[in-house]
């Protein structure tokens, strides 16, 4: 894949090579997403505890004991249990589309999950996850200390990209031959066309106008022609 230097500077993508020789692209989740996930998990834990406590009050001393044990399990093993489940993430992370994987893109192993969650105690120091925050802000892959030691990553679950929906635009042969990079840029524009405002698409298409032989002109008609070239490259003739 061709990647410009600017993309390398701006993008936080981590690539992991599989034994088949292809590169998997992992998109690490940054501090805000993980904070929200943490807060949601905190609420889930509190809700669980609250519900359990109401039930336990009826059960007396044994109930209190089980509540204390539950507090302990929720404190240390809540993330471990969920990370080792099929989803690879706690409910909070899942709701934000995150999951925990190993550095090489594989599902998190029990040992790694245990390590990263016990070392949470170190991340928590000196007060309210300060070390975790500093570590996540300093690192481009947003790892906290536990992630560093366990060799794990919190990544965005990939979401499928929408197909390029331009069926109604007539294909048009390009006026000049395009390099692969230009083709990719044109495809990207075509894919985004439906999500942008008409004025913005016109503005962007004007930049690409030479490929449809419309250099220097702009407007909805030029946009149609530029997208028509995209159609042509997609394979609709």
């Amino acid at each position: 894949m061709q990647q410009g230097t600017s993309a390398e500077v701006l993008d936080t993508i981590v690539t992991a090579e599989t034994p088949e020789g292809i590169l998997l692209e992992l998109r690490p989740a940054g501090l805000p997403a993980r904070c929200y996930a943490f807060l949601i998990d905190l609420l889930v834990r509190l809700a669980l505890l609250y519900a359990f406590e109401i039930a336990a009050l009826a059960a007396g001393g044994l109930g209190i004991a089980l509540t204390i044990i539950l507090v302990f399990v929720l404190e240390w093993f809540y993330p471990v249990i969920f990370e080792l489940s099929r989803w690879g993430a706690t409910p909070g992370k899942r709701s934000l589309g995150l999951r925990v994987v190993m550095d090489n893109g594989l599902p998190v192993t029990p040992a790694a999950s245990l390590t990263r969650n016990l070392l949470r105690a170190a991340d928590f120091l000196p007060f309210f996850y300060a070390f975790a925050v500093v570590s996540m802000l300093l690192r481009r892959d947003s790892k906290r200390l536990g992630d560093l030691a366990a060799a794990t990553l919190v990544v965005y679950q990939p979401t499928p990209t929408a197909r390029i929906a331009l069926e109604e635009i007539a294909p048009l042969a390009p006026a000049v031959a395009l390099t692969p990079r230009d083709q990719a840029a044109l495809m990207a524009l075509a894919a985004r066309a439906t999500r942008l405002t008409a004025a913005r698409v016109d503005e962007l298409a004007a930049l690409a106008a030479p490929i449809s032989g419309d250099s220097g002109r702009s407007g909805p008609e030029v946009t149609r022609r530029v997208l028509g070239v995209a159609q042509w490259y997609l394979g609709r003739r």
Partner: protein, 327 residues
């Protein structure tokens, strides 16, 4: 070949792979819901082809939706095909029988250091407080000292009355939460170049020593020692072991040798996690003994000492001898 042709040509394979993967994802032991085995060979072949097609699509700069689709397909396949199963009875048996005691012995230098850092403050504070009881107030406040005194007192109200069963359960919960927390902090502290582990070990050692010395001086020695002697075989060992695992992390960070600091840390935490598995088990055993055996007042102290001697011997010989011959 245009992107659309490419898509049409391989569409069928991708759909088949996707269907197989989602079956595999929901299945147990490679069988589908209906109990039919899933064709692993077919999955592997299709997965390899999808990898090839992804490489082609990238090289030809095909549109993002195609590449994304292939990326997701291969990522899903990769996750399912290369996952490791670390559960199971055999694995557990090997962990208990060989790997845990062996890991402890492999880290013996750290274990000795952790033991020294824990035991020296215990002894020093123990003797100090024994000879000058007012020093207890430099470790805990008056209220805590009094409550410890009451906990182990021979007062009429406590003696002869078995603690109610539900209180035992309560204490069990409390011990689990408190002691495992201490232990885990001893481990996690290792990330700060080992200083955290040293601090938590020394602090808990000093605390234990001070309380012991204070209670002995007050003449409550028998209640106190008969209480702690049995479960401490597991509890103190667990604290020392998790401290040792923490020191291993700290050492790996300080002296990475021929690795980068990060690689060295990852290696160290992989190896020391085995110890932490054992520590968790030890602490659960300790909490059960503490709640249901140690606190039982109807058992005569002599009996407790005898059992404790057995338990200590068993724990030490387990850690030093178990799994030596195994391959």
């Amino acid at each position: 070949m245009t992107p659309l042709q490419f898509e049409q040509q391989h569409q069928q394979e991708w759909l088949e792979l996707q269907a197989l993967l989602s079956q595999l994802h929901k299945s147990l032991r490679g069988r589908s819901r209906e109990g039919k085995p899933i064709a692993g060979e077919r999955v592997a072949a299709l997965y390899r082809r999808a990898c090839e097609q992804l490489a082609l699509a990238r090289a030809r700069a095909y549109p993002a939706y195609l590449i994304d689709r292939l990326e997701q397909l291969t990522a899903d396949g990769h996750q399912l095909i290369y996952q490791r199963s670390e559960f199971g009875y055999e694995k557990l048996k090997r962990m208990v029988g060989v790997e845990f005691p062996r890991a402890v012995r492999a880290h013996s230098a750290y274990v000795w250091l952790a033991l020294a850092v824990f035991a020296i403050p215990t002894l020093v504070l123990g003797f100090l407080v024994y000879f000058r009881p007012e020093l207890i107030l430099s470790v805990v406040d008056t209220y805590t000292a009094q409550s410890f005194e009451q906990m182990y007192s021979k007062s009429a109200a406590a003696i002869g009355h078995n603690r109610a069963a539900d209180t035992d359960w309560q204490m069990f919960g409390f011990y689990i939460r408190n002691n495992i927390g201490i232990s885990f902090r001893c481990f996690a502290g290792g990330l700060f170049a080992g200083l955290g582990s040293l601090f938590f070990l020394a602090f808990n050692g000093a605390y234990t020593g001070a309380i012991g010395g204070y209670l002995t001086q007050k003449g409550l020695g028998e209640t106190f020692y008969s209480f702690v002697v049995t479960h401490s075989a597991f509890e103190l060992t667990a604290i020392v072991l998790s401290g040792a695992a923490g020191l291993r992390l700290g050492h790996a960070l300080l002296v990475p040798g021929r690795y980068t600091r990060l690689q060295s840390l990852v290696r160290a935490s992989k190896e020391s996690t085995v110890i932490i598995y054992g520590v968790v088990a030890f602490l659960l055993i300790a909490a059960s003994i503490e709640a249901f055996w140690s606190s039982a007042r109807w058992i005569p102290p002599l009996m407790k000492y005898a059992v404790a001697a057995l338990v200590w011997t068993a724990v030490i010989s387990y850690l030093t001898l178990q799994g030596r011959g195994a391959r």
